[in-house]
């Protein structure tokens, strides 16, 4: 029984860690993409004016 | 030939500066003695335990004191952009590395020469017949540690919170050197067979050569601004 608990903890840790890391990258990426979009809109606006 | 003269000029300058301020050697020395004293309190005085751990304590004192000295010696070059002044001179970047390593080895060696007798007295060590080899081991360990330390302290001098950064960079990387040096020392003091001692010293020499060559080759990259 305790044998399986260790197995479970190990696997839970592996996937949580990788998932959190992916989430972190995704967050960063979407943040930057949003900012770039805003920046581009700003840029066009000021050019238009 | 001019290269050799330039190395000597830099080393001489560093020694004169240290003789004036004494800040590096004195702080290193006091620190190493404190480490020795603290360990003396942790273990029971005069017990067998302390004699077997003495080589480890010696190396802990040396590497912690060296760490302190290394970070000071580059902070000093940093203060008035002295490093830039030297970099403007017609001197090869890798010669600068050699000069700095020599300077740091001299500082550390002075501290070792003073703190070793203190340890011998405090820990009641028997150096009879092993002193020449022990000095060689001390030199080899210092060579490797100062070789890597010179490179890393140039790096850490240019970072935020440099006093913290140096040991974080330096200690994990130099674990093989510390291990080989302290093992050689403890075998030596335990009166082990010369072949066993030599097996560790050989490793220490190999590590020294590898680290020094790599650091020598990489040094110019950390100097460029």
């Amino acid at each position: 029984m305790s044998n399986l608990t260790y197995l479970f903890i190990a696997y839970a840790f592996i996937w949580t860690a990788i998932f959190l890391y992916l989430l972190n990258i995704g967050k960063k990426l979407s943040f930057i993409q949003r900012e770039i979009k805003l920046l581009k809109e700003d840029g066009y606006k000021s050019e238009g004016n | 030939m001019t290269g050799l003269k330039q190395i000597l000029t830099i080393v001489q300058k560093d020694l004169i500066l240290e003789m004036r301020s004494k800040e590096i050697i004195v702080s290193m020395l006091v620190f190493s003695l404190i480490v020795v004293a603290v360990f003396n309190f942790i273990f029971d005085p005069g017990s067998e335990q302390i004699r077997t751990t003495a080589p480890g304590i010696l190396w802990i004192a040396i590497i912690f004191a060296s760490n302190l000295g290394l970070s000071r010696s580059f902070a000093r070059e940093h203060e008035n952009a002295h490093m830039q002044g030297i970099l403007l001179c017609p001197v090869d970047r890798s010669l600068l590395y050699i000069a700095k390593v020599i300077g740091n080895i001299i500082f550390i060696t002075i501290v070792e020469i003073i703190s070793l007798p203190v340890m011998v007295v405090l820990f009641d060590l028997d150096l009879h017949g092993v002193l020449p080899l022990l000095l060689l081991v001390l030199f080899l360990g210092t060579l490797g540690f100062a070789g890597v330390g010179t490179l890393f302290s140039t790096i850490s001098a240019n970072t935020k919170s440099r006093e913290v950064m140096l040991p974080i960079l330096l200690f994990p990387v130099t674990i093989p050197i510390i291990l080989a040096a302290s093992k050689s020392t403890s075998y030596l003091l335990a009166g082990r067979d010369i072949s066993q001692i030599w097996s560790w010293m050989r490793i220490l020499i190999i590590f020294d050569v590898i680290f020094l060559v790599v650091c020598f080759l990489l040094y110019e990259y950390v100097l460029e601004e």
């Binding site: 044998n3 197995l7 190990a10 860690a17 930057i32 | 240019n158 990489l218 990259y221």
Partner: protein, 225 residues
């Protein structure tokens, strides 16, 4: 989401599902260790991926010092981050496996100790990256440290192994790979493949993010000036 991101993500998703199938269903239960041995199928690939990641750091660092191109620097930084992630997994799953089998969380055996020191070295690497004033100089510092850190891997491993062979160490259940049943070996290979694909995907995503971030900074400055 962009197509170029979707394909590698799907690919590693499938690979990991396959790896899970093999590790939990296809592979037979180990006779003496029981089901907990299944940690092995993800523990070893994690170790492999972290070594691979640090190798990439080293190569990218050399390339950066030679060319000065920031893309190499971003690649090195990305790979180091992922390497730290996987070496952390190794350090957590190792004791999870060791405790039920050898009844101890930690042994100072060569592989475990080397992983621990590697973890320290690359944590230092990431710290160094975030502690610099000047971006370009900092990138150069990181590259130098990345190269030395990787060259240190075999040195650390050799020194620890030499150190441990001279001491009684717990027997580690034979060499990996030697006593494995063919199904287990097959599973291990599949898992190694799956983790390599996962590594490539993570590296690709992280690298792209880094590149986009720099591009964004450049754009911002251009627009504001």
């Amino acid at each position: 989401m962009d197509k170029k991101y979707l394909i590698p993500i799907l690919l590693s998703y499938v690979a990991i599902l396959a790896a899970l199938y093999f590790a939990f269903i296809y592979a037979p239960t180990e006779r003496t260790m029981g089901d907990v041995q299944r940690i092995f199928y993800f523990h070893v690939p994690s170790a492999w991926v972290s070594f691979l990641a640090f190798f990439v750091v080293c190569i990218a660092s050399i390339a950066f010092l030679r060319t000065g191109k920031e893309s190499w620097d971003i690649l090195a930084a990305s790979s180091a981050e992922i390497g730290v992630l996987f070496i952390t997994i190794v350090l957590i799953t190792g004791p999870m496996w060791a405790k039920p089998v050898w009844n101890t969380f930690w042994t100072w055996d060569a592989r475990l100790t080397t992983s621990f020191i590697l973890w320290l070295i690359y944590i230092a690497y990431l710290m160094l990256r975030s502690y610099v004033h000047d971006k370009e100089r900092g990138a150069r510092f990181a590259a130098v440290f990345g190269i030395i850190g990787f060259l240190d891997v075999p040195i650390v491993y050799m020194s620890i192994r030499w150190w441990r062979t001279l001491h009684p160490a717990p027997v580690m259940g034979g060499k990996e790979g030697s006593g494995l049943a063919p199904e287990m070996l097959m599973t291990l290979m599949i898992c190694l493949g799956a983790f390599t694909i996962l590594f490539a995907t993570l590296l690709f995503l992280r690298y792209k993010t880094g590149m986009v971030a720099t591009e964004f900074e450049r754009l911002k400055i251009k627009i504001h000036s």
